[in-house]
């Protein structure tokens, strides 16, 4: 399958956002201990994001500033949309202030910035 760079970046963004939404919700429910005990078969969004990152050039060094900004803002927007949907439905204890820090860490970990 042909995997063009833009498509790979899109997939990376989707999986990164899912991974961080998951992290924010884990903190919100304060009861993720049991949720993660037996899901070893499920491939995680973090694994998938990493897989796509490894196919995006440059693989071993940060991307150019314009790409970083684009990826970061799209991830943040996706996360906010997911979380705000829940908040508007009465989901309490979701801390939106966590998003920026989590995104920065994730992008560093994935060698995006």
């Amino acid at each position: 399958m042909v995997q063009n760079r833009n498509k790979l970046i899109d997939l990376f963004i989707g999986n990164a956002a899912n991974s961080i939404v998951h992290k924010v919700l884990e903190i919100a429910i304060e009861n993720s201990e049991i949720a993660n005990k037996y899901n070893k078969e499920l491939i995680t969004s973090r694994d998938l994001a990493k897989k796509y990152r490894e196919k995006i050039n440059p693989k071993d060094s940060p991307l150019i500033e314009r790409d970083i900004e684009y990826i970061k803002s799209r991830i943040i927007n996706k996360i906010r949309a997911e979380l705000l949907l829940r908040i508007s439905n009465g989901y309490k204890n979701i801390n939106l202030n966590l998003i920026d820090g989590f995104v920065d860490n994730f992008l560093k970990e994935m060698k995006i910035n």
Partner: protein, 264 residues
């Protein structure tokens, strides 16, 4: 040597000794010696849950696994074998073991010994009884996992589902990945995402959950010829994704409604 302890029961014309179907060795047609037990030690028999039959070689391995655990771990409450190892055939990657213990257990040495004996990757989850019960009450994957298992000691749990919509939201979120990543996932990866979503659905409906029930439901909901259509990645992408997205959205709405109503 494989030993079994059984009791002689009274028959009409002849008395008899019944052998359990799930046993290692003692194949039909083989000759055996019967002798009184006397003062010989009693060998513990594991408890089989929803396993109709198992290959003799696996049954023998299971006995030895329990023996190795017993020898190497002090003070644990139970050991439970589960996962694809218990399915018919040899299409499994590892052996899943749940070690129930209230104490911290060092398992590296145990894993090495078990892997050396079996030649198969060993995956051990350690948890205390309270966490196990909590998992069985709130987590569909736990229920599915323990719907088919072999346990060293009898499992006595009266489980009533406790629906925690926030926890289910977190679990459901994982299955969202199938939509965006469809082209990049293999059949088994897709299967686990779909299995997850169906288990959540059955849980919310307060229905019984087992791997077989979930597989049947998948085939029905997504109109497949069989579960292998999914596992072997032979899906009609457009048709499947249309159904999957719709099913996901309905389930997500149901969960959001549950969160909104403040149910836990």
């Amino acid at each position: 040597m494989v030993e079994l302890i059984a009791r002689i029961s009274k028959g009409s014309k002849m008395d008899q000794v019944y052998l359990p179907k799930n046993r290692s060795g003692f194949e039909i047609g083989s000759y055996i010696v019967i002798k009184p037990l006397g003062t010989e030690r009693i060998i513990e028999k594991p408890y089989f849950y929803n396993i109709k039959d198992i290959e003799p070689v696996k049954a023998q391995m299971i006995n030895e696994i329990f023996r190795i655990i017993d020898k190497n771990i002090q003070d644990y409450e139970n050991a439970i074998l589960t996962g694809s190892f218990l399915d018919r055939g040899f299409n499994f990657n590892d052996i899943d073991i749940l070690l129930v213990s209230k104490n911290k257990v060092k398992i590296n040495d145990l894993i090495n010994k078990l892997e050396k004996f079996t030649g198969i990757k060993i995956h051990i989850i350690i948890l205390d009884n309270k966490t196990l019960i909590n998992g069985l009450e709130t987590d569909p994957l736990y229920i599915m996992m323990l719907s088919k298992c072999i346990s060293k000691k009898r499992l006595i749990y009266k489980i009533k589902y406790k629906i925690d919509y926030k926890l289910l939201d977190l679990e459901l979120l994982k299955s969202k990945l199938l939509i965006d990543n469809f082209d990049y996932l293999d059949g088994n990866e897709k299967y686990y995402f779909v299995r997850n979503i169906i288990a959540i659905y059955l849980f919310i409906q307060n229905k019984k959950i087992s791997k077989e029930i979930v597989d049947k439901k998948i085939v029905k909901i997504f109109n497949l010829k069989g579960i292998d259509d999914l596992k072997k990645n032979k899906l009609d992408k457009v048709d499947f994704l249309k159904k999957y997205k719709s099913f996901y959205q309905q389930l997500f709405n149901l969960i959001l409604k549950g969160i909104k109503n403040g149910s836990k």
